[in-house]
Amino acid sequence: MKVKVLSRNPDDYVRETKLDIQRVPRNYDPSLHPFEVSREYTRALNATKLERVFAKPFLASLDGHRDGVNCMAKHTTNLSTLFSGSCDGEVKVWNLTKHECVRTLQAHEGFVRGMVVRHCGTSFFTVGDDKTIKQWKMEAPAYGEEEEPLNTILGKTVFTGLDHHRKEGVFATCGQQVDVWDEQRSSPIRSFTWGVDSFSAVRFNPVETELLASCASDRSIVLYDMREPAPLKKVIMTMRSNTVCWNPMEAYYFTCSNEDYNLYTYDMRYLDRPITVHMDHVSAVLDVDYSPTGKEFVSASFDKTIRIFPKDGGHSREVYHTKRMQHVICIKWSADNKYILSGSDEMNIRLWKANAAEKLGVLAPRERQATNYNQKLKEKYQHHPQIRRIAHHRHLPRNIYHQTKEQRVMKEARRRKERNVRKHSKPGTVPVVSEKEKHVVTVVK
């Protein structure tokens, strides 16, 4: 007779001393782990619920401006510095880690319209309603010295926007026309006009650094090459665009914020229809900024909310609002992809988390592992109705909630009417126009 009976030595399964960690022998045999899918689903559901529980995006409010915040600029080399310009011509420099203002200067008379930091981070430029471009030193003046700009250029007309070249000492302004300036000279090296009287924003392409995009008041977005004397092409839309922002990773895409409550992502090469229409705002969109990863962007709107959109998603994944925040004029996504800064009408700059439920600070390895695992679970089960409902639910202020509803009703009515018209007319006479094609009037080259 040969016999063997299971007989385990407890020493192999129990820790030796109290200082050891517990032994956990694993056996991945699927028959020992029944209900794999349903347990994983339950975990995903819990993770989604916890995400909503921990979603506390608002971090801090930076107050100190005496008028509405009109423009902001990120420091190019320093994460913790922020520049903001207000409607009374005051510029403030903020230390974000300490949540305090480190420097205040009266830059202009009237609005500060645009600000930008030089690519090397040694100085910054401001433009204002007083028709001047001013260059300022990064360091505060020493004790007893007066706050003086390094350089002042007096222009002919009011400037409304400003952007700096990525690599060279060249910057562009917009106003009556788009001007490209050399830092060393007091007159523009290039001046572009294309039959319009005013521009609201200009942006350099971060990769193809000689390219520029601008939004004009004749509802068009115009593309330029700095090396050419004439503009490249423009697309005319049904409503005016307020600002434009290039995708920093795929720099042939840019997104513009429009007065018709939508944002449009275009491919620079094919302007005849946008790649994506981003809908959700219920009032004009005033500003847009991409995350440094190029996967998402944030938009500020006149409806007192901030929304975060995935770059290829038609609807926002997140909406931020507070009771006190008024019309949001300008928005920036921080260069470390973690924070969002919004400047609004009621003189405050607000600091938000880019990922509402993210835990700030250093994570322990196990904590990080658990977070990653939960993230993956949420992704895997995101389409299940219950999880989807929880993940998508957001509390909205009453007026926005009702306006969204109203918009939906209006849209449905329009669609119904169009469908009926099509039904009762000769086949082919009323073609189906997709949402993307609807908003583009024409492309001019």
Partner: protein, 595 residues
């Protein structure tokens, strides 16, 4: 290993080259061989053959490795290049799904996503299969000598032959006063709960033989069951259902559950399923203390019950010979199977949820495949089995009167005699295999017997699921984790992986709604418009030709597929015919009468 490495680097052509310097790990055989070669002519031919063979293999190995050799500075090469081979059956064990069949002409992003997910799942399977090799324990076994039946080996013999700790697992508890006894092992297999018919309850840490609590409820007891951990257990008493803690303190008396005869605990759902004499099947959620479902089965007194551990479906045996399957989400049975001609006496389902074993008053023992609901085997037991229990590794124990018989491989091969047999003092009342141990617990009129059944228990437990050696702290942590991932009772269905499938019906419905709302189909394939090409390549003719290239592409694929299928069927048919003709070519004795 070292010597083989050497051999690869310097392929020893015996005659031509210098011998490598002798190493202490080389056996001195070679010299002897050489001597043989020179000395004895007669044996030379016999010896050269295998040597040639050796040379050949060496050469081939060298050819294989040559590519790698250049990369390594030391000149040594890996004798086992590439990752280790994983046996197919082991890979099969961990296989969750087949590779996604890729439809032609899909979006590049989707293609990428699918490829990535395939890759990830394959990697997980491989890693799990690799880890299988490292499992520390082997299963037990019992083999008789030549012409010795294993069923004649007595428990005393086995306990004499094995080590002391294992021998101590064979014991009898003489409890003749309050019997007969029903019993239950906790999920980790450490704790034993005994419930005597006449009110005696005992909780025992049966390996250390420590008595945790002992009470008498002064009422008749129908069944006892551990809840999720060894801290609480449920007792079905004469009238109501009671819950006690491990110190014997009554925690709850649940008046909603009356006349309970049998209970099952669904550990991942935290549900206690009970059946009663009033033909009610009730589910109690023990984590929140709520009754989840009460189903009137309308089939009379219910005292045969078991659960399918794979999908948490409850199997009930009835007096008319049917077995019915129940979930808490449906008011009537999911499935009813006519299994026996008499009443069903006992039902058991194996760990993988594939086989169901039933025994009935018609003295038959039947095995069913419950995925296909098909009978597989039918055995005749002279006295009929009153109690059935399946172990983790698929051993079946059947009690007929006071004899306990254990069978091996009842599901796959026809069995003629038992693997083991044992006679207890009086009629068997309850019987359970202990999880993760080679032990069968039998409750009977004279008390309790713990038997040694080699090869019954799963040798390797998972520390995060049911760990027999867990500390109090680990148990607490496990409890929190288990409660957090408690599966909702709504998810109980015949197919436990249903949640992972695509909900086609809803998708189609939604698509239809969308088409209706929009007035056109947004997913419809757009008409192909040939791109404009320069240098005269967009002439009317070439445009037409390009259009023709893609015309009816979907239809073409379908036709191609159906043609392939046809070919396959035709091929199979031909092969079958060939076989038939081969068979028929053998002349039978009756062929001479054919004209």
């Amino acid at each position: 290993m070292a010597s083989t490495g050497e051999a690869v680097v310097n392929p020893a052509h015996v005659g031509n080259k210098k011998k490598p310097p002798a190493r202490y790990w080389d056996e001195p055989k070679e010299e002897g061989k050489d001597d043989n070669k020179v000395g004895k002519d007669g044996k030379q031919t016999g010896e050269t053959l295998p040597q040639k063979h050796v040379e050949k293999t060496k050469k081939r190995k060298k050819d294989e490795v040559q590519g790698d050799e250049k990369n390594v500075i030391s000149g040594k090469s890996d004798p086992f290049p590439g990752s280790a081979h994983i046996p197919k059956d082991r890979m099969q064990k961990f296989k969750r799904r087949d590779k996604i069949k890729k439809p032609p002409r899909q979006h590049y992003k989707l293609k990428e996503m699918m490829a990535r997910s395939d890759e990830a799942s394959e990697m997980a399977e491989k890693q799990a299969a690799r880890l299988d090799l490292l499992l520390p324990e082997d299963a037990g076994f019992l083999e008789g000598d030549e012409d010795e039946d294993t069923c004649t080996i007595s428990q005393e013999d086995i306990s004499d032959a094995v080590d002391i700790t294992s021998a101590s697992k064979y014991f009898n508890l003489k409890l003749s006063q309050f019997g007969p006894y029903r019993l239950d092992y906790s999920r980790t297999g450490r704790h034993l709960l005994l419930g005597g018919r006449r009110g005696h309850i005992a909780c025992i840490d049966w390996q250390s033989k420590q008595l945790k609590c002992e009470i008498n409820v002064m009422e008749s007891i129908n069944d006892v069951k551990w809840l999720h951990s060894e801290a609480m257990y449920a007792v079905a008493q004469k009238k109501w259902l009671y819950i006690y803690d491990s110190n014997g303190i009554e925690l709850h008396c649940i008046r909603k559950f009356n006349d309970v005869l049998r209970m099952q605990f669904l550990p991942y759902h935290f549900l206690l399923a009970t059946v009663s004499a009033t033909s009610f099947l009730q589910y109690l959620d023990v984590s929140v203390g709520k009754e989840v479902a009460a189903i009137c089965t309308k089939t009379g007194r219910l005292d045969v019950m078991c659960q399918n551990p794979q999908n948490a479906i409850i199997h009930l045996g009835h007096s008319n010979g049917t077995v019915s399957l129940w979930s808490p989400n449906q008011k009537d049975a999911l499935v009813k199977m006519l299994c026996h001609q008499g009443a069903v006496r006992s039902v058991a389902v194996d760990k993988t949820g594939t086989y169901m074993v039933t025994s009935g008053m018609d003295k038959k023992l039947k095995v069913y495949d419950i995925r296909a609901f098909k009978p597989l085997k039918s055995y005749f037991l002279p006295a009929g089995a009153s109690c059935l229990s399946l172990s983790q590794r698929g051993l079946l124990s059947a009690a007929t009167g006071d004899i306990v018989q254990v069978y091996r491989d009842v599901c796959s091969t026809p069995v003629t005699k038992p693997y083991m047999a044992h006679r207890v003092q009086r009629t068997v009342w309850g019987m359970h295999f202990c999880p993760f141990e080679d032990v069968l617990g039998v409750g009977h009129g004279e008390g309790f017997t713990s038997m040694l059944i080699p090869g019954a228990g799963e040798p390797n437990f998972d520390g995060l699921d049911a760990n027999p050696y867990r500390s109090a702290k680990q148990r607490q942590e496990w409890e929190v984790k288990a409660l957090l991932e408690k599966v909702q009772p709504e998810l109980i269905s015949l197919d436990p992986s249903e949640l992972g499938h695509l909900d086609q019906a809803t998708f189609q419905q939604r698509h239809q709604d969308r088409v209706q709302a929009l007035g056109f189909d947004p997913l419809a394939t757009q008409k192909f418009v040939p791109r404009y090409k320069k240098k005269g390549r967009s002439s009317a003719g070439s445009i037409e030709r390009r259009k023709r290239q893609v015309a009816n592409e979907d239809l073409r694929e379908e036709i191609q597929q159906s043609a392939e299928d046809k070919m396959k069927i035709e091929k199979e048919r031909k092969e079958r015919e060939k076989k038939d003709t081969l068979l028929s070519s053998k002349r039978s004795a009756l062929d001479r009468f054919k004209k």
